[in-house]
């Protein structure tokens, strides 16, 4: 088994990021929730941009950033 690496995505409306590894516990998405398993009707919790207007990114966190992201 070689699981797919976790993806990071950024909202093109406001820059809010979704990290599959971290999920969004504050918004009911457990860590490890795959992007594909989030309903298509889901929208950015900050700005309401639809799910299809998020873009996958390959950008690392600044120091301490992943802790802040998991609490977003």
């Amino acid at each position: 088994m070689n699981p797919e690496p976790f993806m990071r995505l950024m909202c093109l409306g406001c820059g809010f990021s979704y990290d599959e590894a971290l999920g969004l516990p504050e918004h009911g998405l457990a860590p490890g929730t795959r992007w594909a398993d989030i309903p298509e009707t889901w929208v950015c919790p900050d700005c309401g941009t639809p799910k299809h207007m998020f873009e996958m990114v390959f950008i690392g966190y600044a120091e301490g950033g992943s802790d802040l992201a998991s609490a977003a």
């Binding site: 406001c14 820059g15 873009e55 996958m56 990114v57 950008i59 600044a62 977003a72």
Partner: protein
């Protein structure tokens, strides 16, 4: 292989966004305020154009009409947002760090890196229309500490020379990305060369006022062109009219699957 594209003024996404109905929570200045926005790249309702250029996702040529018009407080993360003011007065308020209230006039510009999060509001508080170009780009790292920097471009003293406003030059505003924004105000008959940093860098060149022939391509007011993957790093800019005003965004061309897919589907565009 060298790649280029042209976006004519009318090919941009042209939107008028009024401060009414549900939009009045987003657009300030109800009932008379409205924003006109010409987007070079896909943004909000405009989704039929190019997705971006390198890490750049928004190049918005905007006018706030009516006293009190602009954008009410709304949140951002990660995006680095730059504004360059050309007419009128822009009041910028952000909650990042200690918070900031700033007023920008013609020639002033800022770099707001939203990083780990902050809200901002952009308002024109005088009766004069406010004209600014907004540039948004993806940062080098996610959840950076938010920052705000601002400066002024003095066109009287910096004429007929390419001036780097944002980037790594002395006195340029710092930005957390391999990207430089330069401005050239110049007169008819003058010729300039913009030299790209490396083969991995490209340039998006926007003619705000006047006209210019850029790498052999004739560009009028509000036309623009992008150049990347060039054999020759030198891009020639021949100025067509007095008081021409050219914006050059040079950036690392990140390996972006969305942009590649779009270019594949729109080959020859």
């Amino acid at each position: 292989m060298s790649k280029s594209f042209i976006i004519r003024d009318h090919e941009r996404g042209h939107d008028t966004i009024r401060s009414d109905g549900t939009r009045s929570s987003y657009i300030a200045g109800h009932p008379d305020g409205f924003v006109t926005r010409a987007s070079s790249f896909n943004f909000h309702d405009y989704q039929s154009g190019r997705p971006g250029f390198g890490p750049v996702r928004v190049f918005g040529d905007e006018i706030f009409h009516g006293a009190g018009c602009g954008y009410n407080m709304h949140p951002h993360h990660n995006f680095v947002i730059c504004a360059f003011v050309f007419e009128g007065q822009l009041t910028h308020i952000n909650t990042a760090g200690e918070g900031m209230v700033d007023q920008l006039r013609a020639g002033d510009y800022y770099v707001f890196s939203a990083g780990s999060g902050g809200k901002h509001s952009e308002l024109s508080v005088t009766s004069e229309d406010m004209h600014a170009i907004y540039l948004w780009l993806m940062p080098r790292q996610l959840f950076l500490p938010p920052t705000y920097h601002r400066a002024h471009f003095d066109y009287r003293r910096r004429r007929n020379t390419i001036v780097q406003l944002v980037g790594d030059a002395d006195t340029a505003l710092p930005i957390p990305q391999d990207l430089r924004v330069s401005r050239l105000m110049a007169d008819a008959g003058r010729s300039f060369t913009y030299t790209l940093r490396s083969r991995g860098h490209g340039a998006y060149i926007f003619v705000r006022e006047g006209s210019a022939t850029v790498d052999g391509v004739a560009l009028g007011r509000r036309d623009s062109a992008g150049f990347s993957d060039r054999d020759d790093p030198a891009i020639t800019i021949d100025i067509g009219e007095d008081d021409s005003d050219i914006i050059v965004v040079e950036t690392i061309m990140i390996d972006d699957d969305n942009i590649k897919a779009w270019e594949h589907d729109h080959a020859g565009h």
